[in-house]
């Protein structure tokens, strides 16, 4: 504690700290690793099926990032991510945009679509309506790049490892920091579009609801194949909703019923048992208090000063 006290310091201006910026060090000895990888005699690096790519954010960057590239393959075929033409890119930097990736892979082939996601999935994440529109999917880390032709993927996977590559240049600047926040704020939603979308969805929803209700009504009282009639919330004998609460209540009722029929303290042993229980309870409380005291004692809670 005493040490800590002297740590409160009076205000220091930033300028004095300016000179002491951290020295970044960029040691890239992966070249050695690339040669260690015996499978490979070209200068690209493939580990467990993932091609590794070194990328810098811009020419001002002092550190490399490592992208892991692989052809997307999944048991579920999706229209959005066609087999053979989709490239999975892992560990893209958090500020990476579609434009940055387009720039990186523009020499590999024509790119049709790019999906940016926070994690790897089997199919594209749906943009949910209920998630606020204002928040972009930030914190991206995996990208799916769909090429027009399959050899785009192959070209990308065989990109050389040791060439210096940049995510940005003059034409595709980095969209990050203050500029990105400003840009984001400019994205003011159009009320008309919002209204149309919402109305459309609601109309569909109510239509579906109506259909379901109609169907239920039609099925009312009609036995199914096995001859059972479904109890619904409409009609003559309404069933109560099957909720947890209701179920609990029903169980409780049963238990009470059972309890009522049971004879209490009938046998001497039963009587003795209840008495014993009572005493044990009292004792438990006392023990509990004692335990608490012991705990307090251990933490020196009784030394007043």
């Amino acid at each position: 504690h005493n040490h800590y006290h002297c740590l409160y310091h009076s205000y220091q201006s930033n300028s004095s700290l300016l000179n002491h910026t951290v020295q970044y060090q960029c040691e890239t000895n992966l070249k050695i690793m690339a040669s260690q990888n015996k499978m490979d005699n070209k200068s690209n690096l493939i580990i467990q099926g993932y091609s590794v790519l070194q990328v810098k954010a811009s020419d001002k960057s002092r550190a490399y990032r490592f992208l892991y590239l692989k052809e997307h393959s999944s048991a579920h075929q999706t229209v959005e991510w066609p087999q053979g033409r989709t490239l999975e890119v892992h560990n893209i930097p958090p500020f990476c945009t579609q434009d940055n990736l387009r720039k990186l892979f523009r020499d590999c082939g024509e790119i049709m679509r790019i999906y940016l996601q926070p994690k790897a999935t089997a199919m594209p994440l749906k943009a949910s309506l209920s998630v606020s529109s204002g928040t972009h999917i930030k914190n991206v880390s995996v990208a799916y790049v769909v090429f027009r032709k399959p050899n785009g993927v192959k070209n990308a996977c065989s990109l050389t490892y040791d060439k210096e590559r940049f995510l940005s240049d003059k034409d595709t600047p980095l969209m990050s920091g203050l500029r990105a926040y400003m840009h984001e704020y400019k994205d003011i939603p159009d009320v008309k579009i919002m209204e149309d979308q919402a109305e459309k969805y609601l109309a569909e929803y109510y239509k579906k609801k109506d259909e379901e209700a109609q169907q239920e009504k039609d099925m009312e009282g009609v036995p199914d194949e096995d001859g059972f009639i479904k109890v619904t919330r409409h009609g003559k004998n309404k069933g109560s909703k099957r909720t947890e609460e209701n179920e609990r209540k029903a169980k409780e009722k049963l238990r009470m019923k059972k309890k009522k029929t049971e004879l209490k303290d009938f046998y001497t042993s039963q009587f003795r048992e209840t008495k014993r229980k009572h005493i044990l309870e009292l004792q438990a409380k006392f023990e509990e208090d004692k335990r608490k005291i012991k705990e307090m004692k251990a933490s020196r809670k009784f030394r007043p000063y």
């Binding site: 205000y11 700290l17 550190a63 914190n139 203050l178 969805y201 608490k292």
Partner: protein
């Protein structure tokens, strides 16, 4: 069944033997065994506890406490041995040579400094050392009521009658001879091998009455301390000579005009010297009183332990020791008095003794109805009660009937004791687990106790001015022998309590800790007199800006004018009458009103005591700058004190909005309630929003909205104040969350359109909310319905059963539409009762934020902790100033046992007795699954709502350390303040604990004016017209950047930030993030491949690329990233 049992036993005796060896049945047998014990003794004990003690837990706690403070037998026997040793030594001392009293040469040769102040120096008489006729051990050691840790055995040395000359009662001769006697004792004892150290101390802080502290080596190499007091034999002087209204210090002698007065017995005309007289009487009657008390108190365990508890209770309140304290001798006398008057009997247990004593203390009045130990028939010369009262102190007549036991106890200290007794009784009434802590464990420090603290420091010449100014003080100075602070404090308290009147509930001068000094030091340096006062204010009256006096024609008006001086003016009041009145400030600002007491103190002390304002250090208001914002232009009509007015302005605008929303006709359902949930609606927003001003040149316009323009300075930060509009329920609400969201969007659109068209308000419609501008504030209206909550919670199991289960989204929604409005409502209620709640809670939040842990402890948790301070203030009264509020908050945070107890905030007093039993029980049961801190309210009995998932255990630990350090630092600043004290110190946390510190660019930090050291001005416009365009809302890039850092790198590091204008972000790496991971897609983030020894590729984290990412993400925001460790 019985039969079968017997048979088996008969058949298989061997099995039985095995059975008993078995642990199962044995365990049960044990249980039964303890049952029997429980039946016989424990049950009777439990019953007794219920009837005679507070509660079983309380009883256990107290007995643990007693065990802790009781003097162990070993130490006791050590002390006993030391006492006999010293007694033997002292009795066999040889008589000394005769010296004049003024002769100090022989003392100097022995290296001893006389322990009293000799002013005037010359005095007649001679001194010759005689060994004591008797040595006896005093009170608390005899009745075994000493309290650890500083155990001292008092020895009383009875000096033979022949030591004193007949006129030694006069002119401090007694005092000086007594001091010389101690000096020669010291010189003798110094020669002993066993004596380690000799020190002087003032007995009960009385500067006339030094005692000698002897540190002795005992046989087993431990040291014990004895305290030697000197008293004359009982019949040395006549008691009536020291009658309170007699004079025993001649003014002629004291003012050094003549040699000792000739006409010795002309005492009637001379001013009384009650203080001096009592101080001699104390010694004269000591043995008699002591024997009586020992007889009364001795032999009863309950009384003994009760006295010990009372001592702990007083010590925790800093009232037991020091000058003017409620000393342990006084305490023993009072308990003896209660026994005498049959209020306490010897069969009572310690709890009853303790409770009865504080009960009678709380009811008693030691001036109007003083207690008395005197039982005999009154003697002829004995002083009457009125004569006792005249001395100005409290009265408690002793056994002899002449001596006032409480002659050193000033009325203001007694009223403090009384006040504490009342509070403690109140704490005992509350059936809470914390009453034990409040009574005996919590240290009630002066700074935490008193709302306003101020110091008076007077240098030599100033002191003389002051003394001359005050009538009749010279005389008293003579009585106390030049120790001015003694009477000055009393005078200041008297004047101030008249001046403050109803504003103050309690006024006390701080009792300094008694000091000890070595035998060769001079304790008296009177370069500076320093007094510390505390005021407990009554918040209902203390902030009145006007003191209304008597009607101008009334006779009393002259008196009123005389008291207040030229501050008093004639004023015409609303009802047409003209009164004398004093106006303290014409500002309506709450900050200025809180400082009215300061103005009164300064004015009155200047007027009545000639103490200049610069000699008064008033601590209230010193922390206000932390909540203050400078406005531009300065002459604007807006006042920004500590922000209360801005909160009110927001409330005012909100009333308009809520009226407008209620009359909306375009909504298909009616609005059930409109509740603001932003902290400003519960007066808890650290910096309440200011009305909008945005220079149009700095923004672009996109479809009616202003947007920040690149290359220009960032627009002023305008928070959106969230308001929840609950629509009434209807069967037509959809049963699917997406559909509800769509429906709400449509409703928001309608709401926005109508507010814009019919009420001509500037609106901005979004999917989830509508922003509305009113009076320059932006309100964010959100429509909601409880159906939404139900839908989010509903889960359909495979068997078709509908279950309700809290999901992350549903609990977030529940907080927003149920819990927050309720909390807002309740805290608003606390603010209505306590006008300082708002400023306190905001100061506490400011502190939390400045420690850069703001996001890690939820705002609401902090608000509830502050609410606890107001709803359960024990052992204090409800705080009356932000300073005490902050200190108590820090104390609560750092001393509360978060691991073992839930904090129960009794909002609206809705907790039942049953809750107080069941909540801690449940807590104990589920402790492992509960968060690190649990704050229960009547509607959240588990107490997890606002403390899950953060703070985590290590964070809480850090917070506790920070709180503790800040508290000690601030308390020290308040109590020992000098002019240059920097009160912002505790708001600047150390940065060196971080791995990296990210400095932000000043231009990106739009809230810089709110930072601890920021003093930029904020421009505000007078016109509330914001033009056609909708202002930029909720745009704080620093905050956004901080949040992005957390979401992106949250797995790798923790980030710390002060949202109120903080210009740094602290970063601490999480160690587990730096381990190498297997080569798997889930581990790819921020890592690079490496080949380890086994030729298996691994993944290693690249710090540099993370730092590079931070720099790219913070483009235009980050200035530099530095390592604070590299600076060291």
């Amino acid at each position: 069944m019985m039969k079968r049992k017997i048979i088996t036993e008969v058949e298989e005796p061997a099995k039985k033997k095995i059975m008993t060896d078995d642990t199962g049945p044995k365990g049960r047998k044990k249980g039964k065994l303890s049952d029997r014990e429980f039946n016989m003794e424990e049950i009777s004990k439990l019953k007794e506890t219920e009837a005679l003690y507070h509660s079983s837990l309380f009883r256990l706690q107290v007995s643990e406490l007693l065990r802790e403070i009781t003097v162990k037998q070993k130490l006791r026997s050590r002390l006993e041995e030391a006492c006999t040793f010293i007694t033997e030594t002292l009795k066999n001392l040889p008589s000394g040579k005769e010296h004049k009293i003024t002769d100090k040469k022989w003392l100097k040769s022995k290296g001893i400094q006389i322990p009293i102040l000799e002013r005037p120096a010359h005095v007649k008489g001679t001194f010759q050392f005689e060994p004591p006729v008797d040595v006896c051990v005093s009170g608390s050691f005899v009745i075994d009521a000493m309290v650890m840790p500083d155990v001292v055995a008092d020895l009383i040395l009875v000096v033979p009658k022949g030591f004193f000359q007949p006129k030694d009662y006069l002119n401090q001769r007694y005092t000086r001879k007594r001091a010389l006697y101690l000096c020669s004792l010291a010189s003798h004892l110094d020669k002993l091998k066993r004596v380690q150290d000799l020190k002087f101390k003032n007995f009960m802080g009385n500067p006339h009455k030094p005692v000698l502290l002897v540190k002795l080596n005992s046989e087993d190499d431990k040291t014990v301390t004895l305290c030697l007091q000197v008293v004359p034999e009982t019949d040395t002087f006549k008691e009536s000579r020291f009658h309170v209204s007699k004079n025993n210090i001649r003014p002629g002698w004291f003012s050094e005009n003549s040699e000792e007065n000739q006409n010795d017995d002309g005492t009637e005309a001379l001013p009384a010297t009650p203080y001096y007289n009592s101080s001699v009487l104390h010694d004269l009657c000591l043995v008699r009183n002591k024997q009586f008390i020992e007889k009364i108190l001795g032999g009863s365990e309950g009384v003994r332990d009760g006295v010990k508890l009372l001592k702990v209770w007083l010590t925790q309140r800093e009232l037991l020791k020091g000058l003017g304290a409620f000393s342990s001798f006084l305490l023993s006398c009072y308990v003896a008095y209660l026994i005498m008057s049959k209020k306490v009997n010897k069969l009572m247990n310690y709890y009853q003794v303790f409770r009865t004593t504080i009960l009678f203390l709380s009811k008693s009045d030691w001036i109007l109805e003083p207690p008395s130990l005197f039982e005999d028939k009154p003697q002829k010369m004995q002083p009457s009660l009125d004569e006792f009262r005249e001395s100005g102190s409290c009265v408690f007549v002793d056994r002899s009937g002449f001596y006032n036991l409480a002659y050193m106890l000033p009325p203001h200290v007694f009223s403090r004791v009384k006040h504490e007794a009342e509070l403690s009784l109140d704490a005992l009434e509350q059936h809470q687990q914390s009453s034990f802590d409040a009574l005996f464990m919590a240290h009630v420090s002066f700074a935490r106790k008193f709302d306003h603290v101020f110091h008076i420091s007077l240098k030599g010449s100033q002191l003389n001015d002051t003394l001359e100014k005050i009538d009749g003080l010279q005389q008293k100075v003579m009585d106390v022998g030049g120790h001015v602070s003694l009477i000055l404090s009393q005078h200041v308290v008297t004047v101030l309590s008249e001046a403050l009147g109803k504003r103050a509930k309690l006024l006390q001068c701080k009792i300094d800790k008694p000091k000890e000094w070595s035998k060769c030091d001079d304790p008296h340096d009177d370069k500076e007199t320093r007094l510390t006062f505390g005021i407990c204010i009554d918040t209902a009256n203390a902030f009145n800006i006007l003191d209304k006096g008597p009607s101008a024609e009334a006779v009393e008006s002259r008196e009123f004018r005389a008291f207040w001086g030229d501050k008093s003016e004639m004023r015409r009041f609303k009802d047409g009458t003209i009164h004398e009145a004093v106006l303290w400030t014409d500002s309506t600002c709450q900050r200025d009103r809180r400082l009215v007491c300061r103005s009164i103190v300064q004015h009155v002390l200047q007027r009545h005591c000639s103490i200049p304002a610069k000699s008064i250090q008033y601590m209230e208001g010193k922390l206000d700058p932390l909540l203050h914002v400078n406005l531009l232009p300065k002459e604007s009509s807006l006042l920004y004190g500590t922000g209360e007015e801005q909160s009110l302005a927001v409330h005012h605008a909100f009333d308009h909005i809520s009226r407008a929303v209620r009359t909306l006709s375009s909504l298909p359902l009616s609005i059930h309630s409109i509740q603001g949930v932003h902290p400003v609606f519960r007066h808890a927003s650290v910096f309440p929003p200011l009305p909008v001003t945005q220079a149009s040149s700095d923004v672009d316009v996109v479809s009616g909205h202003a947007v920040p323009k690149e290359g220009k300075s960032l627009p002023q930060y305008i928070p959106a104040l969230k308001v929840i509009c609950m629509l009434e329920g209807s069967g037509k609400w959809p049963e699917e969350i997406e559909a509800i969201v769509c429906l709400k969007t449509l409703l928001h659109i309608k709401m926005g359109a109508e507010l814009r068209e019919r009420h001509s308000m500037s609106t901005s419609v979004h999917k989830d909310y509508v922003d509305v501008v009113k009076d320059g504030f932006v309100f964010r209206l959100v429509i909601s319905n409880t159906r939404e909550l139900a839908v989010l919670r509903t889960v359909k199991t495979e068997s078709g059963m509908i279950k309700f289960k809290d999901t992350e989204r549903s609990s977030a929604l529940e907080k927003e539409i149920v819990d927050l409005p309720r909390l807002t409502h309740l805290l608003h209620g606390i603010q209505q009762e306590n006008p300082v709640f708002s400023v306190t809670v905001r100061l506490c939040k400011r502190w939390i934020a400045s420690q850069m842990v703001c996001g890690l402890v939820s705002e609401e948790a902090v608000e509830l902790m502050v609410a606890y301070i107001f709803t359960s203030p024990h052992p204090y009264a409800v705080p009356g100033s932000p300073n005490t509020g902050l200190l108590r908050f820090l104390y609560l945070l750092s001393s509360f046992n978060w691991k073992a107890d839930p904090l129960m905030v009794n909002l609206n007093k809705d907790f039942t007795d049953e809750d107080y039993a069941s909540i801690p029980k449940e807590f104990q049961k589920n402790r492992t699954s509960l968060p690190s801190m649990c704050i229960c309210t009547p509607t959240d009995k588990q107490g997890t709502k606002w403390t899950k998932p953060l703070p985590t255990e290590p964070l809480l630990k850090r917070l506790i350390i920070l709180a503790h350090e800040s508290m000690t630092a601030l308390e020290c600043q308040i109590l020992k303040s000098v002019d240059v004290t920097d009160f912002k110190m505790i708001f600047r946390p150390p940065l060196c604990h971080f791995d990296l510190v990210i400095h932000l660019l000043k231009k990106a930090n739009v809230l810089h004016h709110q930072s601890v050291d920021g003093n930029e001005c904020v421009e505000i416009s007078e016109s509330k017209d914001t033009g056609k365009k909708f202002p930029v809302v909720n745009f704080c890039v620093a905050e956004k950047f901080f949040q992005d850092l957390q979401t992106t790198f949250g797995d790798l590091a923790m980030f710390f930030y002060d949202p109120f204008g903080g210009n740094v972000i602290g970063l601490v790496w999480k160690p587990q993030a730096f381990e190498d991971k297997d080569f798997k897609p889930v581990n790819f983030r921020f890592r690079r491949p490496v080949i380890n020894d086994t030729e298996k590729p691994n993944l290693e984290i690249i710090k540099d690329s993370i730092l590079d990412d931070i720099r790219v993400m913070g483009g235009g925001i980050v200035q530099s990233i530095v390592s604070p460790k590299s600076l060291q």
